[in-house]
Symmetry: C2
């Protein structure tokens, strides 16, 4: 084994960073044996240098992250700051000064992944980011390496623990959205401002990263259709139950049936209770992958948290250090397929639509005509009427999102349709 | 991209090999893009050269596997023959003649993994074998690479599809073992001679491989305790249901609580219906991994079959080719921890024991005394009596297998115990 240590600079020492530093210290012998050389924490860049950080030598702490990544003797920079800047500049500076990078930064990878990969490649360095998607769950590496000889057709994932906790709570207790969110906040599963989670921004970043890797195509955050889950109601869960379904916020990356394009989207959807994703409880994450040869695979585990995320970061750190010792680099960006990313209108799926309608003869015929005119075929209809009010629940066969939108627009114009109570896609069948 | 192709020799062209060859041809452009150079099928060694093999140039087919691996211009040998010899000799010969090796051979890896890894290392070549455990499910790579910075404490897996199909059938239909086996045979899930599957030999080989990787310790096939599932009865499933459990044939690799030793075993066990492994249906495989930092992870997918196994082989092929282009090798054997493998007697778990006893006063007291004398603490007891016969169902707290064996031996000697109807371990709690 080489005795000269590999030097690691840690950018950020919050929940994840402090856990990375702790494990690097407590498991130093194991890491050395697995890498083939010792690893040494050479510097820790923080915003608040005066905070006491147990187990970290104060002499290593600095507020000057730029100087740290420019030192020139750093082998690997571990970036767990999050956000776009200064993370982006620090990472590219690190490459320019000879370091490889391990990052857990989903927002940055989703927005600027292509540029960062290019910077890594120019400098012949590694950029690894297993921790950016679904925390501890090995997902980037299986997609990028294990399935490298296969053709991935669909990735269907619960990639946000906060929203899964909320939806699971609504499902199991009948609670409304606000009540379930309050509980998630109280238990620390939701942040004070839960927007990034509940509006699907976090999941959309992960969808962009997953789609890019799965389809060997650049998928930007802007390419990902995004709908949050704040409007999911207890009534939606009741409807889902009647269909033998539950509701999950899903990140869905799909190759079109003709193989010529891909789509990426995040929205709440009904999935059958028999689907493996339906039983993913609490804040857990799980990602279902369908490919030509392997068939259906699922990866399940904790999608967030200091320790799980640190586990993913350290797995990458070992790989990058090993590459460094053998003067090699791991797989970089693979975007050779360069498939067009189609807009949401071209997505084809099934829909569950609840309409409030007048309780009088002929309404169903009117509604059915509108569906037919837009080429959306109806699978089942259920009518419930009382006191002059009635509801119609329509489940469609597979149709394009554009056709469905056109249908809904036309339905709203019918005098007999008082309102569209909910529209939800049905996935995983 | 390099234009000179990497040359691949395929040893074996059965269900898996023919699928590997097919995908290498149909997905040649994708593989080239992902590797950075084209790959070329340079030879196919078979036993029956006259069999028509669609899509394979007859000029590539040979019966002389030894000459093929000795050619000297082969970059990667893909071994999908199975069995110990001639596979072992062909693999070591391949290393000596400059090739890296991708294998799907669980029996060989479990028996001679250490020697094969040593041969690979001596010749500075790669030995990859993702397909040897759980077919298409990425498992070796996640354990060996993604969790390389973590400490794995337990691996709990359904790694044999045949037995899972049979047990699932027994669970869902109430069928007996023979009836479920007959159906599995009729549907092609069980072989004419199902011994390797139902007696747990196949799962034991996989357990040895998984334990070795998970604990960075050499675990030989002989180190794995093995019990088949041919004696699991419909009555056992009824007992399991009463406990809120089902029965699975599990491969269990554990680090002892003090961290100083490991165990590996295969046997049928009750697991709670709430455990993610309980809902693994049909011939699917799933492996549950518990580690210090990552927590609980699960990997799920098809554990066998031509296409899924080919997917795993091709993922390895891409990785090995990439390594070859950069003159590097991937992770080799990691056995530095060299922990002792403890015998089954030292395994600590819970037990579900059904006793046929005389229906008279004092029997429970006698039985309870025997448990106490052997230091096995009882969690629950259920008595059922009719017509002078009675049954006692005892569920224990955690105890060593040796203590439990001693208890059962003593119970058999009691006049009031007519027989021990079943003993089953309870896992996954």
């Amino acid at each position: 084994m080489r005795t000269r240590p590999l030097k690691v600079a840690l950018l950020g020492c919050g929940v994840v960073g402090s856990e990375v530093a702790r494990i690097m210290t407590t498991h130093a012998d194991d890491l050395a044996a697995r890498i083939g050389a010792p690893v040494e924490l050479a510097g820790v860049a923080v915003r608040r240098p005066d905070k006491v950080r147990e187990g970290i030598d104060p002499a290593l702490v600095t507020t000057d992250a730029t100087a740290l990544v420019k030192r020139g003797d750093i082998d690997v920079v571990v970036e767990v700051i999050g956000g776009i800047e200064p993370a982006r500049t620090l990472i590219t500076t690190a490459f320019e000064h000879g370091a490889s990078v391990v990052s857990a930064n989903k927002a940055l990878l989703a927005q600027d992944g292509a540029d960062l990969h290019a910077a890594a490649e120019t400098n012949d360095k590694d950029l690894y980011y297993e921790a950016a998607v679904a925390g501890a769950i090995p997902l980037i590496r299986p997609l990028r390496e294990s399935l490298a000889g296969d053709k991935v057709n669909r990735v269907l994932g619960i990639v946000n623990g906060t929203t899964n906790f909320i939806l699971d709570k609504m499902d199991s207790t009948g609670a409304g959205y606000q009540e379930a969110l309050d509980e998630a906040t109280a238990l620390g599963y939701a942040e004070a401002d839960p927007t990034a989670d509940v509006e699907g921004f976090d999941a959309a970043a992960k969808a962009a990263i997953l789609a890019g890797i799965a389809f060997h195509t650049r998928v930007r955050l802007d390419d990902v259709y995004r709908e949050g889950m704040t409007e999911v109601t207890a009534a939606d869960f009741a409807s889902a139950k009647e269909m033998g379904c539950t509701i999950k916020l899903l990140a869905i990356c799909e190759r079109a049936a003709d193989g010529g394009s891909v789509t990426a989207r995040v929205h709440p959807a009904m999935i059958p209770l028999t689907h493996p994703l339906a039983s993913v409880r609490g804040a857990y994450n799980a990602v279902f992958v369908e490919s030509d040869a392997a068939g259906q695979l699922m990866f399940y585990g904790p999608g967030a948290g200091g320790s799980p995320t640190a586990s993913a970061v350290l797995g990458d750190l070992v790989a990058v250090c090993r590459n460094r010792l053998s003067n090699a680099t791991g797989p970089g960006e693979s975007a050779y397929a360069a498939l067009p990313v189609s807009p949401m209108g071209e997505v084809v799926t099934r829909y569950h639509i609840s309409l409030d309608v007048a309780d009088k003869p002929g309404v169903l015929a009117q509604v059915a005509t509108v569906f037919a005119e837009h080429g959306v075929s109806i699978d089942t209809v259920r009518q419930q009427g009382k006191d002059g009010e009635a509801s119609l629940v329509v489940v469609t066969h597979r149709a394009s999102d554009a056709s469905l939108s056109g249908t809904v627009e036309a339905l709203r114009k019918l005098d007999t349709v008082r309102g569209v109570a909910s529209i939800m896609r049905v996935e995983g069948e």
